[in-house]
Every structure is written in C-alpha cells, then in structure tokens.
C-alpha cells in the first residue's frame, strides 16, 4: 500500500534531506536522500524511479517486496563455442547478462546479496577455463541469497564448478599413488568461506589466549581430516554417459559420491568432533558441514564480510555483534537465516545513521565503490544502455576487477586489506594509480555517453560497440514510394529493424503516405528525414510514430496528421506498464530525442510522453490541430528537457483547451514527475489555457525539481480568454526565470504566473509581463504554498500579487515564509474588481475550511514598487485579510508579516488589515515604507495586534517609471544595455502621458531594439540545446549520486567546472565529470 506523501508532509521533506519525515498519519516516510542512500547499499545504484518507489514503500515494505521480487534469469551457456573446441571460454554473454540484470532486474537486493556471496565463495574462470561452469553456480547464490547459509554451504560444496576450481571433484582417498587427499577445498572452505583462520568473538574481534595472542580456528590436523572427509565426489554423469569413478567435468546438477574413492576411516575435526569410521561420503559431508556451520566464529566471520560488501568497510564491533547474533538465531531459533541477516544489516542504526546528512559522527563509515558496482551505478544512474560483454570485461579489467576472473580464491580484494594508515579498506587493494586512471577515463566515457550530459548534443549515442559500422537504411531503396502513392509504414518498420541498434533509417525528400503506425521498438535507431521529406497520415492512426525503446532519435521530419483522416497523435514516447499480482512494474524508456521536426495537424497531442527517462524535445515546430496539448506528458517522467521549440495553438482549431506545453502527474496513474526543464520555447497561445502548465493534479504525485526559463509567450489577438503564462502546481523546488509574456492587448484570464496548490521552494524571478489590458485577475499568485520567492519581476498592467489558498488544490495548505521582493507591480488601468492590496495576503476559508489550522505566517514584502490605480478599486498597497479565523476549532493565523522598504502609490491606504475578529492578524512589522501623494500610510483599523511600525511616511513624489530600466537591463540584457538605449528609453517615457504608457513604451522599445534582438537570437536559436542553470543541474546530480549529501567543497568544485566550461553542452559534462570522479563519489558513505 502506498503511503503517499500528503501535502503538509512535503513541506517538511521535499528537498530537505531529513532522515525521516512523518506523514499525517504518523507513519515514517522516507525523504529522497535517505532513500537514495539505502539504494546505494541495497541495489545496483539509485535511479529516479527506484528512489521514488522506495520513498513510497518505506524500507520495511520495500524489503518485503525485494524478498518476493521475481529472481532475474541466468541462462546456461553452450558447452562449446565452436564444434572443434572442447571448451567454451566465452564469458562475455554471462557478463552482459549480469549487467542486464543489474541495470533492469527487479530483484536488486537479491542480486547484491548474491554478488557479495560470490565474492566470498570464489570460483574463477582463470582456473576453470570453461564458461558453462558458471551459470549453475551463480544460480545457487541467487537462489540461496535469502535462504539459509547451511544450505548454501552444501550447494556450493557440491557444485561442479567449485569442485573443479578447488579440486574437490575427483578427490580420492590415499592409497593409489602414495599421496594424500587434496587439501585445497578443505582449507579454503574453512579459511575463506566459513570461519576464517582465527577464532572470533561474537563482535568479530579475535579471541586471545592468556598471553594476548590470537587462537587459531582450526589446525592442520583439522584441514587434513576435513580433506579426507570430503573425498569420493565426482562430477555429475552427463545424460547418457555411464558413471565412472572419476567423471569428466560436467556442470549441470550436483556432484555425486563414489564410495570406493571415499576415505572411510575415522576423522576428528576441531579437536573434538568425531566423524566415525565407515560413514558414507554423503554422511561425512553433511556432518562435516554442519560442524563447521555450528562453529562460533562463523556468524561474525560471515556477517562482517557481508556488512563490508554492502555497507561499510569498518563496522563497529557492536554492529557486527548485532548482525552476528541474528545470524546465530533469527528469533525463531533458526541459525543462518540470510533474510534476517540482510534485514539486520540494512536496518541497523549504524547503517542508517548517515541518512541524516548532519550526522558526521563516523567519518570512517562507508566503502569504496568496487569497479563492478561503479559500472552498474553509472549504467543505471546515467541511464546508459548496457555495453556488450567483451567491452564490459575490458572496462572492468582495466579498473582492476575483471568480473568472474578473480585472480585467486582470495577474491578480487581481501576483506582484511588496510590502507597504509591502517584504515580497513578492502576495495582499496585494487585502487592503484593505474586503476584510478582507468576509473577516471571510464567515468569520462560514461558521462560522454549519457544524454544527461548531452542534452542537445547532436545525437544520443547508443552504447554499442558493435564491430560493424552502423547501418543506414534508405526507405526508398527498400521500396517506399515518395509520391504518396502507397503506404510506406510497413517499409519504414522493416527499415527500423534492419538498421538495428546504432543504425539510421533515412527518409529522402518526398511525401510518404502513412496508413499504419510506425513502431520504433528497436533501441538506438535514428529516423533521419532529409529536407523536403514529409510523412502524412492517410488513415486515422492512434499514433503516427510510437517509440517504445531507448536511444532513439527523430530528426528533421515533417509529420502531418491530415485533418481529413483525423489522425490522433504525432509521436508517442511510451514506456511500459505491466501488472502482476497487483504489483505494477514500470519499464522506462530512456535517452530518446525528437529534434528539428515539424509536427502539425494532429487531432490529439503532437508529442506525448509517458514513463520515460531522459527525453529531449527540441527545436521542433509544432502546431496544434485539436484539443490536446501540442506537447503533453504525464506520470513517471524523469529528466525531461523541452526547449527551443516553436509552438502554436489556436482557439479555432483546438476549441480552447490546450496548453502550449502540459506536463502532469495524474491521480489515475500516480507516477513521479521529476527534473523537468522547459526553456527557450516560443509559444503563440490562442487556445485559452496556460502557455505552460506543469502540474501535479489533485491526487497525483508532487512534481520535483522544475526549471522554467526564457520562454516567450505571446497571446494571439482576438483570443477570447487565455489563462496566463506559466502554471506550476504541487511543485516541490524549482525556478521560473526570465519569462516574457506579451499579452498583446488581451486580458489575462487567471494569472501571469501561478504557483498552484502546495507548491513550495520555488523561485519566480526576473520575469516580464507587459501589454496586458484589462487584467482583473492576479499577476503572480501563490495559491497555497510556502518558502517561495517572488523577486525582480516586472508586471505591467497586472492584477495583484496574491498569497492565499484558493481552489481545490490549495485546500489545507499553509502559505508561510514566502518572500516578495524587488518587484515592480504597475496595476492595470482598466481594473474594475475590488483589490484588497497591490500585494494581497488573504487568509481565506479554503485554507482549511473545516479544521481551522490555516497558517499565513512570516511572509515578507520587501522593497517593491507597488502601484495601484489612483481613484480605482485598489484599497491598499499591502493588504492583509483574515476573514475566517473563527471557522473550525483552531483559528487561522496571519502572523509575523514583515513589510519593509516598499514604495506604494495609487491606493487609498499604504498598509492595513481587515480581520474578523480584529485580533486575528498579529505581529505585523512594518518599517520604512514610503507612500506616494494621497496614500494614507496605515489603514484606519491599523496593521494588526501586537504589531510595530516605524518610518512609514507619506512622501511627495509620484511613481518614477524609469526604475524599470535597470530591471530590464539586468533581466533581459545580461546587464549590457548601452547608455544610448537607456537614454532612448528615458526619452520615450517623457513623451508618454502616464506611468502605464511610459512603462509599456519603454518595454516595447527595449524588446524591439537591435541590442535585445541580438541577445534573444543567441538565446532562442540554441539549436545545440543547452543545460539548465548550474544550481538545478547540480541539485539533480546531488540527489541521484550523493543522496543529497554533497559537501560544500564538492558543490563549489562542481559549480566551478560547470560555469567554467564554454559550450553549454560541455557544462553538464564538466559538472558530472568532476562530481563522479571525486573521492566523495568513489566512497559510498
């Protein structure tokens, strides 16, 4: 059951990486930081989807789900790769399978546990030299990962690959040659796999004798006796081959006993335990393994290593003891219950302490990311395709950990390895200057392959290392007709399959009839249209092109929905949902891009996306032909970048509903939406809705980390009603910057920019609204939300800046700690409806209709120019209103408002409160506000109880509209406006009759100036794409790779790299490179 983050909880948790937050029902809910950190320990690395999943499940439920997740498949390998070879030494398919499972398997924790076990119970291809030996062995680790350690001991002991590696297979009693039974397996079973050479206390420390010396856990006599006890086993008999005393290597099934080769004399283990003479091979084996299993050293020996592999190199003795005690008994009297052990490891207070990033009590916590883990992390978190097995092997070898080729039975690195400073650090045994160089270069290559870094780079690169050069398939060559004389869809589908991963489907100039859907279900395909190529729908298709794959690219195509046939959608980018036993598994598609294309005349949505990761839609020309959003996306969206598109909606065509760009989470699907960038788009909005809406619908998931900047929206003339420019709803963290809306003489239907219900931690900065006519609605509204900042905006012809809680989505949401600063608000002259204030804080009934508890506290109104309409319906400069404080059981509060340094014109009063009862607005502090002529500083009923004011005075000068010139310069001229242009703007103002005209004239002149056009050209014709501002990208990196705990020093270095890189595409690469090569990333902590 989803413990969905309720709205008030998010105030506490979103972007604050507090360890645990409490939902309204009191149940703990994980913040994303701790969730990412757990996934570092318990999976092959966090992804945005897995973080969201763990957050909603909580650790306990997530563990249960992991215990029950379907195990990934590990298929057998052919016994020989060629007819004339006796062995198949090709490990590449197995390595590829391993990483495919690691990257996308649902059984992440099982895989991590299985891998840890495989690093204890080592078998190496270096000696075995036969790839088919491995799958059966690996399936034991997989299948016993959550089972019992004693069962694991028996399975691996009788596994033929282990039998071959450590010579238990065909080990025979003394007599035939005069030699003694081979000790290899017996010794390593004790030393590496079970008890270790020294006797251990329950906390993992060594037992010491009276002289303070370590005590050995077994002696040579025990090794020799155990070797004899384990004689007599041979490989399983291959089907149809008769059993011989010593079978040839065969890897399927368990080894079998040959009693004639078994030493039946009495053996004594550990000095006291006797295996009587005359026992069978099987009885001796069972009893010997049980004796080892019951050794007191075994629980701490195994527990400590599992902790080291999953959590930390240097666990405290108390941590080891807690886990070892669970190993020794799970509470139901079972010893060796690995499900209980892994639960104890991951839920231990020592493992979880660092979830709170302020907890710096244990600087030596954590462990180095071993190369296999590093590679899996990079593939998962950067959303890369899994390379082929040979290329994986060579990458891992270079980093010092060639998977399945452990150099010795002591594994890739020793659990006991210490740095020269004596810090326990197993993985550091394989970190040398050489492997460090190879790690840095591997990370560099991975970052280069990542489309996170490439946003806008020419082509998403499919990570193939196919030796043949990528195919280019020309559809005309394949028989497609370029004169619209025959359906081309099936030929294009053939071409896609033929091009294959890394290939290109080429569409030459001409018009192609499309009567069936085009299925881009092959990874890594580019659909490349030459100039003059158009695909036109000649049937009512649901989607013209459906992308259900990764690393695909559509470039330069003209797609026409042909109103005559009513084709619905242009391009769908669509991950998969499958539900088994009530649990829905979502498979995201990733790294797709749609660029340089024209998509027009579709009745539905031109481009839609659903369940995708890392999608870029850029430099397209899109015209809506129906009621859907031209670009519409919803649910399970991660790393979406929509930029530099030109979008036209038309009331005539659409009937009035569409947004230019709509990105939503919905209650029906209820999937996360995170890291959304929408920038530098040009939108001609005539359809009636917001130009851009990014909204978590009521009941849908909150949207995290939104960046909206430098979009240009113009209202179409004659449109009957258009809501406004940007609407953000249920957004947790983000920025809206440098937006320009030219209302083109139209009314603004709702707001210029709206932060709808429960939107928190958003900055709305340096935006421009102008040419609005008879605006009666808000300019910038916070309809429920806290910790938002509204600064440096220039609002010409607007309504009020409003802080309240309106509409369904705002219900029950506090509106506190918002800052309104350095804005110029020049209200619409045509305003006719009553405005309580130019800045209006309204503690209204919707804030908490039934329960009281509404809070509108500690908002700050600082240094604004607030210009109402002289003799109009504008009551105050800053109006505070609390009408419903008597509703419900607790009074709604409006307290602690700080009002400082504002310039107020064109209102009846400067500052004041309206409140019922009169005591419900409290602790207002106003200082140094300057009122224009005719504005009475304070309302007759005052500014609230327990309030203070000083220096609020009435001045003599009117509003000076030239204050907008430096704002225009800073926001839209990179502070480079020439003195000449500034002079021109002042002159233009002189010639106009009133402040609104003056300001509008100046803005018109400024935006149409050659200086601005040059700047605009550079910004808006960004065909190579570009990353979001540094802080947004660095926040993403911090969340995904550092569980929100990136140090200040690293943040500085990453910012430095980001800002220092020249080309925009290089900026993210530089930032990611510095972040991922840092020691702070190498060491999981």
């Amino acid at each position: 059951m989803k413990s969905f983050c309720a709205s008030t909880m998010l105030l506490v948790c979103s972007f604050a990486f507090a360890a645990v937050c409490l939902a309204q029902d009191g149940a703990p809910v994980l913040a994303s930081g701790p969730a990412a950190r757990i996934l570092e320990q318990a999976s092959w690395g966090p992804t945005q989807a897995s973080i969201a999943d763990l957050q909603s499940e909580g650790l306990t439920n997530w563990l249960k789900e992991q215990f029950n997740a379907t195990p990934s498949t590990i298929p057998d390998l052919p016994v020989a790769s060629l007819p004339n070879l006796s062995t198949n030494q090709n490990m590449a398919p197995l390595v590829e399978n391993f990483f495919m499972n690691a990257v996308s398997g649902p059984d992440q924790l099982r895989q991590r546990m299985a891998f840890a076990l495989s690093e204890i119970w080592v078998v190496s291809e270096v000696n075995v030299g036969n790839a088919p030996a491995f799958p059966p062995l690996l399936r034991i680790f997989r299948d016993r990962a959550f089972d019992n350690y004693e069962s694991l001991m028996r399975d691996v002991t009788l596994n033929p690959a282990m039998g071959q590696y450590l010579n238990l297979a065909n080990n025979i009693k003394s007599g035939r040659t005069g030699g003694s039974p081979n000790e290899n397996y017996a010794r390593e079973l004790l030393q590496q796999f079970s008890v270790g050479p020294d006797q251990l206390n329950a906390d993992g420390s060594m037992v010491l004798d009276a002289n303070g010396n370590p005590v050995e856990a077994y002696d040579q006599t025990t090794v020799s006796a155990l070797a004899r006890a384990l004689t007599g086993w041979t490989y399983p008999s291959k089907m149809g081959v008769a059993l011989r005393g010593q079978n040839a290597p065969y890897y399927l099934g368990q080894m079998i006993p040959v009693e004639a080769n078994h030493d039946t004399q009495q053996k004594t283990l550990f000095g006291t335990l006797t295996l009587p003479a005359g026992q069978s091979a099987s009885d001796d084996l069972t009893q010997a393994l049980h004796a080892i299993f019951m050794q007191p050293s075994l629980p701490p020996f195994v527990s400590r290593q599992l902790i080291q592999h999953l959590v930390t190199s240097n666990p405290s003795p108390a941590y080891v003891e807690r886990v070892a005690s669970v190993f020794a008994g799970n509470g139901s009297g079972v010893r060796g219950d690995l499900k209980a052990v892994i639960t104890a490891i991951l839920t231990d207070p020592e493992a979880r302490a660092g979830d709170d990033p302020s907890n710096t009590g244990n600087p030596s916590f954590g462990h180095l990311r071993e190369p296999v883990l590093l590679e899996a992390n990079l593939l998962r978190s950067l959303g890369l395709a899994v390379p082929d097995g040979n290329s994986l092997l060579s990458t891992l070898d270079a980093m010092g950990q060639k998977l399945f080729y452990s150099p010795a039975v002591t594994s890739y690195f020793l659990p006991s390895y210490r740095t020269s400073n004596n810090a326990p650090a197993p993985e550091f045994e394989i970190l040398s200057t050489q492997t460090a160089a190879n790690r840095l270069n591997t990370i560099d290559a991975a970052v280069a392959r990542s489309s996170i870094a490439q946003s806008g780079a020419s082509t998403p690169t499919a990570a193939t290392s196919s030796p043949s050069s990528p195919a280019t398939v020309n559809i005309v060559t394949l028989g497609a007709k370029n004169d619209r004389s025959a359906d081309a869809s099936s030929i294009i589908n053939q071409a896609i399959q033929k091009a294959g991963n890394g290939g290109t489907v080429l569409v030459p100039a001409g018009t192609y009839s499309i009567k069936g859907m085009i299925f881009m279900t092959q990874n890594g395909v580019t659909l490349q249209c030459q100039s003059g190529a158009m695909l036109i729908a000649d049937a009512g298709l649901p989607d013209m092109i459906w992308i259900n794959a990764s690393n695909d690219l559509i470039e330069g195509c003209v797609l026409d929905g042909n109103k005559a046939v009513n084709a619905s959608n242009g391009i769908g980018v669509d991950g998969s949902y499958s539900t088994v036993n009530g649990k829905t598994t979502i498979t995201l598609v990733s790294n797709n891009r749609i660029t340089g294309s024209t998509i027009q005349n579709f009745a539905g949505t031109n481009i839609y996306a659903d369940a995708v990761q890392t999608l870029e839609v850029d430099n397209n020309t899109i015209t809506s032909g129906g009621g859907g959003d031209p670009i519409g996306m919803s649910d399970n969206l991660y790393n979406i970048s929509v930029h530099n598109n030109t979008i036209t909606t038309s009331y005539a065509l659409s009937g009035g509903a569409a947004h230019g760009i709509g990105i939503h989470s919905t209650p029906s699907i209820n999937g996360p939406v995170q890291n959304i960038q929408v920038y530098e788009n040009t939108i001609y909005q005539g359809a009636g809705n917001f130009c851009i809406e990014i909204l978590g619908q009521v009941g849908g998931q909150p949207i995290q980390n939104v960046t909206v900047h430098d979009n240009r929206c113009t209202f179409a003339p004659g449109a009957p009603f258009i809501n406004g420019m940007d609407s953000l709803g249920q957004v947790q963290g983000g920025t809206v910057q440098h937006e320009i809306l030219n209302a083109n003489g139209q009314n603004i239907g709702i707001q210029f920019i709206e932060l709808a219900g429960n939107t928190n931690n958003v900055t709305v900065d340096s935006n421009l609204l102008f040419n609005a006519s008879t605006t009666n609605a808000g300019a910038i509204d916070i309809n429920g939300g806290s910790n938002n900042t509204i600064s440096n905006n220039l609002l010409l012809g607007s309504g009020a800046i409003y802080i309240g809680a309106t509409g369904n989505s705002g219900t029950g949401v506090p509106c506190s700690n918002n800052i309104v600063k350095n804005n110029v608000v020049l209200m619409s002259r045509g305003i006719t409806t009553f405005q309580r204030g130019v800045v209006w804080i309204q503690a209204n009934f919707e804030s908490d209709l039934f329960n009281g508890n509404g809070h509108f506290d500690n908002n700050q109104i600082l240094d604004n120019y607030l210009v109402g309409v002289t003799s109009g319906p504008v009551q105050m400069g800053v109006g505070l209103e609390n009408d419903y404080s008597t509703w419900g059981t607790n009074p709604t509060t409006l307290s602690g408002t700080v009002i400082t340094g504002n310039h107020i014109y064109g209102a009846w009063y400067g500052i004041g409160d309206i409140t019922t009862p009169t005591t419900s607005i409290t602790n207002t502090a106003s200082t140094g506000n300057i009122m224009g002529p005719g504005v009475v500083p304070h309302y007759v009923l005052g500014i609230g109880v327990n309030s203070t004011s000083s220096g609020d005075t009435q001045g003599t000068s009117s509003f000076d509209p030239t204050v907008i010139i430096p704002m225009l310069n800073a926001s839209f001229f990179n502070s480079s406006m020439s003195q000449g242009l500034q002079q021109t703007l002042k002159l233009a103002m002189n010639s106009m009759p009133d402040a609104n005209d003056k300001a509008t004239a100046a803005v018109d002149l400024a935006l149409s100036s050659a200086e601005h056009q040059a700047i605009e050209q550079a910004v808006m014709s960004n065909t190579s794409g570009g990353p979001a501002p540094a802080d947004t990208q660095i926040q993403t990196i911090n969340n995904l790779f550092f569980h929100g705990s990136m140090s200040a020093n690293l943040t500085d270095a990453v910012t430095q790299a980001f800002n220092g890189a020249q080309a925009s595409a290089d900026k993210t690469h530089a930032a990611l490179y510095v972040a991922l090569t840092s020691s702070e990333f190498q060491v999981i902590h």
Binding site: S174, S180, N182, P407, A423, L431
Partner: protein
C-alpha cells in the same frame, strides 16, 4: 577518422623504423649508472612448488626425490643438463623450462637461496611441533603468507612492507619527489611504506587522464585539483584523494618521461611477466628524467597454486619466468646497468613434497627456494640450507607431507637485499623488527 587498415599500415611503418635503430640508448643515460641501484621483486603468486624448480642431482637426494614425488618427479628431458655450484661442485638441475636461468647460474649471475620462508625467529621442526617457539600466524594460507613475505612481520598485522619502509628511509636522501617504488602488478604491500606509496603502471596501459590534461580542460582540472588539495576527515576519501593526487603528479611526470624512452634492442617475450619486465626496463632507462638513484620495482606472475595439473602448469609458467628474466638481463646490459639492478623472486610458500592422492599436484607448504639474478650477485651457488628429502624428517613441519620449515627467514633475505641497496644497518633494525632474533643478519649472495 583513421581506418583500421591505415592504423595497421602506420603501425607497420613504426615497427620498421624501430628495427633500424636497435641500440637507441643515449650515451649520457648510460653514464649515470654509477650511483644507481635498483631491486626488482618478481612475486610468484599461488605458492611456487620450488621442489621442482631446482632438483639435486647427487644420487642420494635424487633417489629420495624420485621415491616421494611420484608423478610429479622430473626426469630426463624434464630437467636441464646438470649445473655445478662453484663451491663444492654440487650437481643440480633446473626444471627444463628454466634453461636460461641454468645458463645464468653457470655464468655466475644467478644464485639460489634455499628454503626461505616466513619466520619470527630461528625455528626447528621439533620446536614447531611442540609450539615451543614463536611461529608465524595462519600458516599455509595464501593471504597470510603473501602478506608476511611482503611485510616481513610474521607475528602481527602490518599495513606496510619491508621495501616500502626501506624506501621511506632512502627517500630522505632523494632529491626527487618521484616515488621510489613502482609496481607493474597493482598495489603491493611490499612497496608501501609510512610515506611511500607505490606508483602503479600496468604494461601496455597509460597513466594519462585526457579529461584532466587536455589543453581545453583547464576548468575541470582546476576544479579537481582544488578538491584534491583539501584534506578530508574521512580516511577512505582521504586515501582515494591520495591515489588520484599521486596519479596527477607522479603519474604525469612518469608519462612525460616515458614518452622520451627509446626502444630497447632486447626482445621481451610478450607474456604477462615479459611485458612487465619490459616496462620496468623502460622506466630504468628514463631514471635520469625522474631524478631518482634508488628504485624498487614490483612485478608478479600468478598461477602457481598447483593443487592439480602441476607439471602442465609449470611447463608454461617456468619458461615465461626464465625467458622474461633473460630478456630483462639483456636489456639491462644494453643500458650498462646489469650490475646496478638485482632481481629476486618471492612466493608465499613452497608446496608439499608429497603429492596429492591424485598425484598430479601438491598442497600448501612453507619454505621454498628463491632466485636472485644480477651482475652484482655472487652466483652459481645455493645459499642457505637445502631441506632433507625425508617425510617426517628433520625439516618436515610435522604431518608427514614435506612442508619444509624454513631455514632462512624472509628477514634475512630482505636484509641482504636492503643492505645492498644502501640501507644502513641501523635502519634495518626498524625496517625488519624481527631481524634481531637471528644471529646471522644476512647471506653473502650479493657483492
């Protein structure tokens, strides 16, 4: 893009120009040899069965050898023609795969040090059986004895090795910041000191980091350097920083210097060990650019854990060892430094003299024989004490399988090598804390 075919063509041309100048060593470099000394450790991982490295050919011992070793016993063409010690003219034969080494032995450039192993103090088999004297911890274990060979502290944990501690002392006299220890086989405790961190360079690989060294990458580089310059309170992050910092300082120095290296005339076998020794020879060639006059090198060859298929395995590994060392010696002689470099083997343990019941392998033992090669070696001799080929005999550690109790300790072996390198007797006391337990501090195999 250069096509694959073009690359092959360019490669061929480069090889051609190589062939034209087989003796590319500048005279100036050769002249700096006077005050240069280096040790090269060849670690044979897995526990080399040196019972088959060198086989006594006197009738009594060879007969004892044949009677116990069974299927493992080398006979006829499995052995080189006999060689004779300078002192006493005792006959021995090398494994036939070690023909080059047999020649070095006869020429006096190769010595054998017999039955060396980890000890805490002088120890007899009787003392061991009775546990009446200090013994190494966790005997017959790969991990433990590998470490003990490298730390030379068999009775306690140590994170530093004897060569690293020696390098700490020698570095005090070095005018260069370049690390005195270089490994071609990854990290090695042997070469890790309190202050010395080995620089690791795998043959055929590079320490260059294009993203941090390219001319266009100044911002990334300065951001990374800024991070590395900060100290971290977290030891693991600090250690990672240290490795990367070493890569970006010493590693880049080494890369730049190696770009100046001239090809050697000696032909190195392109094997695991051969390429490592070739790499080491190249570093020795550019020692002047590095500014060092004492160096310790570490290279390694694995696969010696011959519980089974021992004859087949040694038939592959021994020629690789022998041919690699021979090429290396040729390369050193070409540079005129054959008297300035001493190459020695190490291996965690010898193996049981008695084979396994299947007969084709041997189990973990203790003492084993080691090779020391160089112009300064008093070669053609077997130093130390050869074990008596008798199960349950005076050298057998007790359970009748011929695990020889060492008669020369790693301490004495290391002390001899360190002294030759220039470590003072006083410093040896701290580098090798157990050396004080031995009446004889060294063996006379170096001059």
């Amino acid at each position: 893009m250069v096509s694959r075919r073009e690359l092959l063509r360019i490669g061929a041309a480069a090889a051609g120009s190589l062939a034209l100048r087989p003796f590319g060593i500048s005279k100036a470099l050769a002249e700096t040899a006077s005050d240069y000394r280096a040790l090269v450790c060849v670690f044979l991982y897995g526990g080399n069965d040196s019972n088959n490295l060198l086989v006594p050919q006197d009738a009594e011992r060879y007969r004892a050898y044949l009677s116990v070793r069974g299927m493992l016993a080398l006979q006829g063409k499995q052995l080189t023609p006999p060689v004779f010690t300078k002192t006493g003219n005792a006959p021995y034969a090398f494994h036939s795969g070690l023909a080059e080494l047999a020649q070095f032995f006869s020429n006096g450039q190769l010595a054998i040090v017999a039955n060396v192993g980890s000890l805490v103090q002088p120890l007899t088999a009787a003392q061991y059986s009775a546990r009446s004297a200090a013994i190494p911890r966790n005997l017959f274990s790969h991990a433990d004895q590998q470490l003990q060979w490298q730390t030379s502290i068999a009775n306690a944990d140590s994170a530093t090795g004897w060569a690293g501690r020696a390098a700490d002392k020698l570095a005090a006299n070095s005018t260069s910041n370049f690390p005195l220890v270089l490994s071609t086989a990854g990290n090695c405790v042997l070469g890790t000191g309190q202050t010395t961190q080995p620089i690791c360079l795998n043959p055929g690989q590079s320490l260059t980091v294009p993203a941090l060294t390219g001319s266009a990458e100044t911002t990334q580089r300065s951001a990374v350097q800024a991070l590395l310059s900060l100290s971290s309170s977290a030891p693991l992050i600090g250690q990672s920083n240290q490795v990367v910092a070493s890569l970006l300082s010493a590693g880049q120095t080494l890369s730049a210097a190696l770009a100046q290296a001239k090809p050697l005339g000696a032909t190195f076998p392109q094997t695991t060990l051969g390429t490592q020794l070739q790499q080491i020879a190249q570093v020795i060639q550019i020692r002047g650019n590095l500014g060092v006059n004492r160096q310790i090198f570490f290279c390694a060859l694995g696969g010696f854990d011959t519980h089974a298929s021992q004859l087949e395995t040694q038939n592959v590994l021994y020629p690789q060892l022998s041919q690699g060392l021979a090429a290396f010696y040729t390369g050193l002689a070409e540079m005129g430094v054959q008297n300035n470099v001493v190459t020695f083997t190490a291996s965690e343990f010898g193996r049981t003299f008695q084979p396994t019941s299947q007969g084709d392998g041997s189990d973990h033992g203790w003492g084993g024989h080691q090779l020391v090669l160089g112009g300064s070696v008093a070669g053609g001799e077997v130093y130390g004490s050869f074990p008596k080929f008798q199960l349950d005999g005076p050298d057998d550690s007790g359970d009748g399988r011929g695990r020889w109790v060492p008669t020369t300790s790693v301490d004495q072996y290391a002390a001899t090598l360190c002294s030759w390198l220039g470590v003072s007797a006083e410093d040896l006391q701290t580098i090798l804390p157990n050396l004080k337990n031995y009446p004889s501090k060294s063996l006379p195999f170096l001059t």
